[in-house]
């Protein structure tokens, strides 16, 4: 039921990151969007903003709650998914594709063990559900 693509890394806060060379693309996981329900607003960071790993980057609103989004990686924001301003529900329908939230230029590789492998993330959400 819950999709956990095996080409991504994950945070304990349910963000995913796709690392391609010096570029990191970040979003929230399928599990996270299912837990949050219908998303209604995404506060996007500004390009040029710099964040350290696990800093609060933005706020995501579902009907029921507002939640912080933390960056799984240290870097400088290069691009944001502005289509989410009008269509936040893209995160519900395609969390790993059209629902990406921001891209960063990686300034520092994540510390070994600070992010979860797909298998480890799978295990985390399994134990969350119990």
């Amino acid at each position: 039921m819950v999709e956990v693509p095996d080409d991504l890394l994950y945070s304990k806060d349910h963000e995913w990151v796709r690392i391609e060379g010096k570029t990191a693309t970040v979003g929230i996981t399928d599990y996270a969007q299912q837990q949050l329900g219908d998303l209604t607003h995404v506060e996007l960071p500004d390009p040029g903003d710099h964040f350290n790993q696990f800093d609060e980057v933005s706020v995501i609103d579902s009907v029921k709650a507002s939640s912080d989004i933390y960056t799984p990686i240290s870097g400088t924001v290069t691009e944001v998914n502005s289509a989410l301003s009008n269509r936040p529900e893209a995160i519900n329908t395609d969390p790993y594709g059209d629902g990406w939230i921001f891209r960063m230029e990686i300034v520092e590789e994540p510390e070994e063990g600070s992010l979860l492998s797909p298998a480890a993330y799978d295990h985390l959400i399994d134990s969350d559900d119990e």
Binding site: G37, D38, T40, H41, E43, V59, D61, V63, K64, A65, S66, D68, P88
Partner: protein
């Protein structure tokens, strides 16, 4: 955590269950926004079995209720109901209720799930004359069927009464729905026309199934508490524990129409002076929601003037909105304000309640 008899039914429909007032209830079945729109456009079916029903019978019943409710029910016709609050001695709110008159000396008080045990004790402590107070909650299941198609859907199943039009708003009759003895009230919590249907807990799975099936061709959605919350918020209806509580006097809610200051009820003497803050609606400029507890400031800056009691994206309005307690000097509709939410100042405007009114453009 307690479960209603419909718990397995919710799970079979794929609902997501959450804790609410000590009960494990569905927060959503398909999705809050879809369920919300279905209820406004067609019909929504809600499990409200968790709510409480307290019966008062005897020559002292009307007199007892006159002491504990913010307006009397002694003038109600049999088969009619009335909204009122229940106050503590200090004028703050113990619960909000709809009381139906089932007979001359027979009243039925529908109360919130989390408060019902306290309510029973409170009513018993103020009982006068010969008055039996019975908590019938465990023996009573309840479904809310709401929306413009509610009367059509229920009409398809209703063997008695022959015509639902005989039940006026806040009216209640005993009938038979899908072969199941049921008590049918025309009331609800969504801002739409609709019914609250009470039956024996052993029959409620069959009743819910029958309504669900009859509603299929009328675009009925089975709804969770998430949609119930956004629907009531747009309709400006208070939720106990948020707008109403032991922290604020009953008249701060702006529901002066539900308080009869000529009546001699518990807490009345504390409701004469103007409250320090009053309940208003507000609308955000965008889709980002303000949340309960967020402070409200003047648009031009300055000290806080109020606090959000409920806030959410409101699907029918298409923007975020909510209810808030605010100083009367800033409470006029149209007043621009700023909401301090998670470190960000969000522009908003005070609005007249309700934000949504049936038959009017949002």
């Amino acid at each position: 955590m307690r479960r209603t008899p419909l718990y397995p039914w919710h799970v079979s429909l794929g609902a997501r269950m959450v804790g609410f007032g000590g009960w494990e209830m569905p927060v959503q079945v398909t999705g809050i926004i879809d369920e919300h729109h279905s209820t406004r456009r067609a019909a929504g079916l809600f499990d409200t079995c968790h709510m409480g029903e307290i019966r008062l019978r005897g020559p002292g019943a009307a007199g007892t209720l006159a002491r504990v409710l913010t307006r009397p029910v002694s003038d109600l016709a049999v088969g009619q109901g009335r909204y009122a609050m229940m106050c503590a001695e200090d004028g703050t709110v113990i619960d909000d209720t709809i009381t139906f008159r089932l007979g001359d000396e027979d009243f039925w008080v529908v109360v919130n799930a989390a408060t019902r045990e306290d309510d029973v004790g409170w009513i018993e402590s103020y009982a006068i004359g010969a008055c039996d107070v019975d908590d019938e909650s465990d023996a009573t299941a309840k479904l809310d069927l709401q929306g413009p198609a509610a009367s059509i859907v229920l009409g398809l199943l209703c063997e008695a009464p022959a015509d639902l039009a005989c039940i006026r708003r806040f009216g209640i009759v005993d009938g038979i729905v899908a072969g199941i003895p049921a008590r049918i009230a025309r009331a609800g919590y969504t801002g739409e026309d609709g019914f609250e249907v009470f039956c024996d807990p052993s029959r409620v799975v069959d009743l819910a199934g029958a309504i669900h099936e009859a509603g299929e061709s009328h675009d009925l959605a089975v709804c969770g508490l998430g949609a119930r919350d956004t629907l009531r918020l747009e309709a400006g209806l208070p939720l106990y524990g948020h707008e109403l509580s032991r922290n604020r006097p009953a008249h701060a809610s702006g529901m002066g129409w539900a308080i009869d200051l000529n009546a001699r009820f518990v807490g009345r003497d504390h409701l004469a002076a103007a409250p320090a803050e009053i309940l208003v609606a507000f609308r955000m400029q965008g889709r980002r929601a303000a949340r309960e507890g967020d402070r409200i400031l003047p648009a031009a800056g300055g000290d806080p003037i109020g606090t959000v009691s409920s806030g959410s994206f409101c699907p029918t309005l298409g923007v975020a909105a909510g209810l808030a307690y605010i100083e009367p000097a800033h409470a006029e509709a149209g007043t621009p304000v700023a909401v301090d939410s998670r470190g960000k100042s969000l522009p908003a405007r005070i609005e007249k309640k309700p934000l949504y009114k049936r038959g009017h453009a949002a």
